[in-house]
């Protein structure tokens, strides 16, 4: 519980700074930020990463992930570390990560329809909340930048901090709506059926409806893309009863 409180404090101080920044830009956005802010829920965060090892997680594909000093690190790839045996929906997922270099590539997968046996199925059939501050360096457009549902959404705001600073995603799965807050700023708000650009390459996801409840996991992209994760936590939405599938 102590750890959980500490984390909340951290997020609150970040929140406070961002509110000031945003007040200069947009009062409306600041309002929505307050409304969706992390301090409001009556529910508490459930930590999926115990800070010690990868109990509860299962890795598929190439490379692996290790834990050192309470931090998960990616090695090689492409692979996926998936929370095993449980689907999540109607909840908020908090992911605290940092890049090793100024920019590194990874991603956090949500709404994975079936438990992965390999890392490509989620690429095609789930949503990847992208981690990549500079998609332009690989000729990719803004639909492929940090906080986007990879290849599907366009940034509502730019809120990433370069590596090696810590960044926080709060990914809300609200029925068929997916909201991504990056460092307290809403960068993605997508509802099933919203228009998406045409699929350009065969490594991009297929457009189409994702499940309301799905598996989650984070990607180890490749040897040159080291990313660290220090917190993965889930909190049910206030308005809906928690519904967890255990198979």
């Amino acid at each position: 519980m102590g750890e959980s409180t500490k984390v909340t404090m951290n997020v609150k101080s970040t929140h406070f700074i961002i509110v000031i920044v945003l007040c200069l830009a947009s009062v409306a956005q600041a309002f929505s930020l307050t409304r969706h802010g992390p301090g409001d829920s009556t529910k508490t965060w459930r930590q999926l990463f115990n800070g010690k090892d990868l109990s509860g997680w299962s890795h598929v594909g190439d490379g692996n992930m290790t834990v050192e000093n309470g931090i998960i690190q990616t090695h090689g790839g492409m692979g996926l570390l998936c929370w095993a045996g449980e689907k999540f929906g109607n909840c908020t997922i908090k992911v605290v990560y940092r890049m090793e270099k100024e920019n590194s590539n990874a991603g956090f997968f949500i709404r994975i329809p079936i438990e992965p046996m390999e890392p490509w199925m989620p690429v095609f059939y789930a949503y990847e909340v992208q981690i990549d501050n500079h998609p332009e360096t690989s000729d990719e457009d803004e639909y492929h930048s940090t906080g986007m549902l990879y290849a599907f959404t366009k940034p509502l705001a730019i809120a990433w901090k370069p590596g090696p600073e810590w960044n926080t995603f709060e990914i809300t799965l609200d029925g068929d709506r997916t909201i991504v807050m990056l460092n307290g700023v809403k960068v993605t708000d997508f509802k099933e059926g919203d228009p998406v650009p045409p699929r350009k390459f065969d490594f991009e996801p297929y457009p189409g409806k994702r499940p309301e409840y799905g598996y989650i996991g984070m990607q180890n992209h490749g040897e040159h893309d080291v990313v660290f994760f220090k917190e993965i936590a889930v909190r049910p939405l206030d308005k809906k009863p928690e519904k967890v599938f255990r198979e």
């Binding site: 492409m78 590539n105 199925m121 059939y125 000729d139 492929h144 409840y213 990607q219």
Partner: protein, 506 residues
């Protein structure tokens, strides 16, 4: 998620490849032989020189796979298309490749300068190009289905044997990891004895069940219409026929079955060693253009269909395979999570293994489902997936589905008979295509109608129609390619080619 490598050994991503190929001659480490004047291409070589017929759609995908082969052992040295709009992007990516509009001219003038042919064009011209390539002793990658007609598929299969070239159909799922996983599950007895198979697809996703248009606009200036028509009967152009809607017209395309049948019936065909069907029955949606007036749209495939293929297994037992398309699906298995929401692109019903089409195996002990090509296999009930303890007995094709193209390149370089491919014409792709096309024979027979005069006690003589081919089970003599109990069906086994295109002969 960017610069994704689908294979560890592949250092070129798709995106990088496009840059390289378009800006740098260094993409080719050896000068293609055709560039050296007066020298014919010498085989064997460490590289496969490919002539790609058809540059858009699946052709684009094929060409990209050759150019990104991990061993960098393929060179797309010729491009051919009848539509400038399809050719333009490829020409930009492959400025060194020589371009032809007419594949016949390419074959005639350049046959010494390439080793293999890759074909991705509308179905009605598959067989003539494919046979033409084999007659030049070229290895062949031919998109699915192998052909438009059953007869053509048979000729192609025989030709593959006769000319001893490495053949591969473009059903990349045949090389998919999932195919091997399913094979291991089935052989380990997880499903018991398989008694039924269901195959279904969201196709057709283009217009079907419609009348041939009587509006004939001017052919788009970029399209060489006569070359596009090729073997097809002479006809006027209609709106939006290219690049996609030709699939729905029997004179060019092979409908929902042609598009997805090889992908979706492939897993049972391969894993259960089905061979030719012995019987085919089924029905198709009927469309009405007036009150009690059934429309007569024999040119167009139906909106949806339901077909049963009966096979006699090697153990002597019969197995029924049910094909469903156009939104018709089997009943949702009760073993799926009852609380799961439906219709996501994967994971529940009907998209249990993929949204474009799936297969369900029903066995005496359990069920398994997968998407087209065997992708994303799962056991039902879902809880069983946790307890799978089947050793990986079979070596996967390196590169998973992408390896389908790459293994063909390797096999061509190794030479006929030296290396295995997942979908060779002999023994697999040929019989599979014929089976898929048996479904189309059933559908076309379903729409045969005969005018009859009916005596009505009140209204007198009335014109009516009789559908003699409906609701009968066609008995198939596969060896002789003949429906034995309904001779009218046999008109759909072989087309007459347009004048000037002769007849397909071995």
């Amino acid at each position: 998620m960017k610069r994704k490598k689908k294979n560890n050994s592949s250092q070129l991503s798709r995106r990088k490849f496009i840059k390289l190929a378009s800006t740098s001659a260094a993409a080719f480490s050896i000068i293609p032989s055709f560039a050296i004047s007066g020298l014919g291409h010498v085989t064997p070589s460490d590289k496969l020189y490919i002539a790609a017929i058809g540059c858009g759609g699946e052709g684009e995908n094929d060409i990209q796979h050759y150019a990104t082969a991990p061993k960098k052992n393929a060179v797309v040295s010729f491009l051919c298309d009848v539509d400038d709009r399809m050719a333009a992007p490829r020409l930009k990516e492959f400025p060194k490749a020589k371009f032809y509009y007419d594949w016949r001219e390419l074959f005639e003038k350049e046959s010494k300068n390439f080793d293999a042919v890759s074909v991705a064009i509308p179905d009605h011209n598959h067989a003539v190009v494919g046979l033409g390539a084999m007659q030049l002793n070229k290895h062949l990658y031919l998109q699915k289905p192998l052909s438009h007609d059953i007869y053509e598929a048979r000729i192609l299969t025989e030709a593959a044997k006769k000319y001893k070239v490495v053949t591969q159909m473009g059903d990349q799922g045949a090389s998919c990891d999932g195919m091997f996983t399913l094979k291991e599950w089935i052989e380990a007895g997880l499903l018991g004895e398989i008694t039924q198979v269901y195959c279904w697809t969201d196709r057709p996703v283009w217009p079907q069940g419609i009348a041939w248009s009587d509006k004939h606009p001017i052919v788009p200036k970029e399209l060489k219409w006569d070359l596009w028509l090729g073997t097809a009967e002479s006809t006027e152009y209609i709106d939006n026929l290219v690049p996609f809607n030709w699939r729905g017209w029997w004179r060019f395309g092979t409908g929902a079955l042609g598009d997805m049948g090889c992908h979706i019936m492939g897993p049972p065909f391969k894993l259960l060693d089905l061979g030719y069907p012995t019987e085919v029955s089924g029905s198709a949606s009927t469309v009405y253009d007036g009150i009690f007036s059934e429309a007569d749209f024999p040119q167009s495939g139906p909106v949806s269909s339901s077909i049963r293929f009966k096979f006699t297994l090697k153990n002597g037992k019969d197995l029924d395979l049910y094909w469903l398309d156009g939104g018709i699906t089997p009943e949702r298995p009760k073993e799926l999570d009852p609380d799961s929401n439906m219709n996501s692109i994967l994971g529940d019903w009907p998209n249990v293994g993929d949204f474009e089409g799936s297969t369900l195996f029903v066995g005496t002990k359990g069920k398994a489902a997968c998407g087209w090509g065997g992708r994303n296999p799962i056991l039902l009930p879902l809880a069983l997936n946790k307890e799978i303890n089947v050793p990986k007995k079979y070596t996967r094709v390196p590169g998973d589905m992408d390896g389908h193209w790459w293994q063909w390149i390797d096999a061509c370089i190794a030479g006929y008979g030296k290396a295995e491919v997942s979908s060779p014409f002999e023994g697999y792709a040929g019989p599979l295509t014929e089976t898929v096309l048996m479904g189309n024979l059933l559908l076309r027979t379903f729409s045969i109608r005969e005018k009859i005069m009916r005596k009505d006690p009140v209204y007198g003589d009335q014109v009516g129609f009789n559908y003699p081919g409906r609701y009968i089970s066609h008995t198939w003599d596969a060896i002789n390619m003949k429906v034995t109990n309904f001779p009218l069906a046999n008109q759909f086994i072989k087309r007459t080619y347009r004048q000037g295109w002769g007849e397909l002969k071995l």
